[in-house]
Symmetry: C2
Subunit: 217 residues, 2 copies
DNA sequence: ATAAAAATCCGTACTGGTACGGATATTTGA
DNA sequence: TCAAATATCCGTACCAGTACGGATTTTTAT
């Protein structure tokens, strides 16, 4: 084997960023930058060509952005660890990137030692998420609770919630009537009241309300 | 004013835990344990009675668990900061607790200094989440990607996805036809194909698929 | 006790979407 | 280059749900 160094590919559309990272990483004995790329497509090729262990990538890039790049790599080479290195502004993409399969997320204003630490963690099968990023995630999780306040204000009755459940299970009014031993007409009335209370007027709006408020999973 | 100490209430059904925490916190000059409780109900009363700044609570408690306690406090005294202190096993409750309004989550095997640090952070309007807890959250966010594999296997065309979007925006077939400058009949055909591919046969099932796969937010 | 809220029920005309069973043109990938 | 996939389009009968505008009984909270 030629070496046991961790093989890294850098992807960023800012040449200066790439140069800075490369010189910084070259000081580390167990790391080796085997390729660089200025857009997502080149990054994909470089990772495959050099059989890289870790890809360090920006989100915003021409041709193919970080998300598309991640998705593509998951298909053809899922063992490569992906560390996203972005500015704070791009943090909005964190959730989709996580779901696409990245292993770490770190901000560009983070110190060198943190970056190197992150690379090692990823290479050992671990994950690394910047503190600020973690905070942001927690904040957004909390924000979901705002939506839930809807359902409490709307004051749906138990019967109405029950009927929403059954509607969402793809039962029609006649079936729901049978199941609850009430007239189809009564179900219609409940439905009308539900629409009024939830401020919707189509089954689609109702379903969206139900999802947003955790009435349906 | 009697004092400027941070007023703390401790809630845990294990007396030993309470005693340990109390003696530990009593060493800190700017903290004061103003009340203790062995269940959620007592905790609620104690917080209100002593006008506490911070509540440190377990999740599992008799009478009223940590979630119910948090929800109750948010209604009657939303300014109290809630720090959840649990064993790793209770980590599954983290998401609902976050949505209920806690400001911090810390594990019982964490060191004293971390706990005191967390209390100060909360009292200053900040948040504190244990590293392990953060990891868990990230892991569960990633797990959501499992669902998304559906949508990739199903191989919906761009046009079909576009139409799903428009359907979910409560447009009917005629409107969608106008918007895309195609016949209503064509929209119907796409709809049929979408149902076939997604293995559904009602608008409800389709919406559920779209939500589960992130096609609609 | 009693008023308000919730749950129950109905007729009739109308609209949006489905089922069924096609056909033709355009893109795209191997 | 050429087959497969995708996108386009149509007729007709039918069904589920809506709109509109009610009424009566039961439950719940004060």
């Amino acid at each position: 084997m030629k070496s046991n160094k961790i093989k890294i590919v850098l992807a960023d559309d800012h040449r200066m960023m790439i140069d800075g990272l490369r010189s910084m990483l070259s000081d580390e004995k167990d790391l080796e930058v085997v390729g660089v790329a200025y857009n997502g497509k080149e990054a994909l090729e470089a990772v495959l060509k050099h059989n890289a262990d870790v890809l360090i990538t920006d989100y915003n890039m021409p041709e193919m952005n970080g998300l598309e790049l991640t998705e593509a790599l998951q298909k053809v080479k899922p063992d490569v660890k992906i560390l996203v290195l972005t500015m704070y502004g791009d943090i909005t993409h964190i959730e989709e990137m996580l779901q696409a399969g990245i292993s770490g997320y770190i901000l560009k204003n983070t110190g060198n030692d943190e970056l190197i630490n992150a690379i090692h963690k990823l290479h050992n099968g671990g994950t690394y998420y910047d503190d600020e990023v973690a905070q942001e995630i927690f904040r957004s999780l909390k924000d979901n609770s705002i939506k839930k306040q809807n359902v409490e204000k709307v004051n749906l009755t138990d019967r109405e919630k029950e009927i929403i459940q059954l509607i969402s299970q793809e039962h029609n009014n006649a079936m729901i009537g049978d199941m609850l031993s009430i007239s189809e007409r009564t179900v219609e009335s409940h439905r009308k009241n539900i629409y009024r209370k939830t401020n919707t007027n189509t089954i689609i709006g109702l379903l969206k309300f139900a999802f947003a408020n955790g009435l349906v999973k």
